[in-house]
Symmetry: C2
Subunit: 125 residues, 2 copies
């Protein structure tokens, strides 16, 4: 699906789904997808060898655990970029809303693919 | 300057400057820069031939005029992607706060370079 040339209202996008850990594409900038995600609980440890991954919290709080590094703890209007090659696991005690930016086609579970947490990478909303 | 591996608080970044139409880099994802901008008044008509440009309004309202297309009018938490090759001019009646996403090194005035509105493209905050 091509990127729609419309004004995108994030409030409407986040109101339109409830499922957790299933990124929905809301926009495309060159070869990057901007994705809306709701998260609660623990994701799986994984790594993206070839790309950084951008996490911006919209509401709630998200902790990004990383191997060999201190946790990144994000509140609303705070972001963190997980460098490529860094194994990480997002964790949220309570439900939070996140914007992700990553290359189109990226699999959410990285190297830990085909598990229960692996979601579609082409799901526009 | 390399991208800092820290949690970035957008509220702090936007509180740290007042100048208009001068994008400040706040983060890097692969070869893309995320930039904080404050805007009021009319920018210059310009085009980026080789890249899309992402505008997300944080506060206030921004109108993106485009040649041959209807205006995109953005309020808080709304975004628009100006496709590459589309001549455009951002206009804001009152001061607004914007996040931009675009390739590192992009000149803000595109083809209309070296005018009064041309800002540094390597200004981290």
């Amino acid at each position: 699906m091509a990127a729609p040339e419309i004004v995108v209202r994030l409030d409407e996008k986040f109101a339109a789904f409830d499922d957790l850990w299933t990124p929905k594409i809301v926009g495309q900038i060159n070869d990057m997808h901007l994705k809306a995600v709701k998260a609660q609980g623990e994701f799986v440890w994984h790594v993206h060898d070839n790309t950084d991954e951008f996490f911006l919290v919209r509401s709630g709080s998200l902790t990004i655990q990383m191997k060999g590094r201190p946790d990144a703890v994000l509140g609303p209007n705070e972001f963190f970029v997980v460098p490529k090659g860094v194994e990480h696991r997002p964790v949220a005690e309570n439900e939070c809303e996140i914007l992700l930016l990553e290359p189109a086609g990226l699999v959410n579970t990285g190297d830990a693919t085909r598990g229960d947490m692996t979601a579609s990478n082409d799901d526009w909303i």
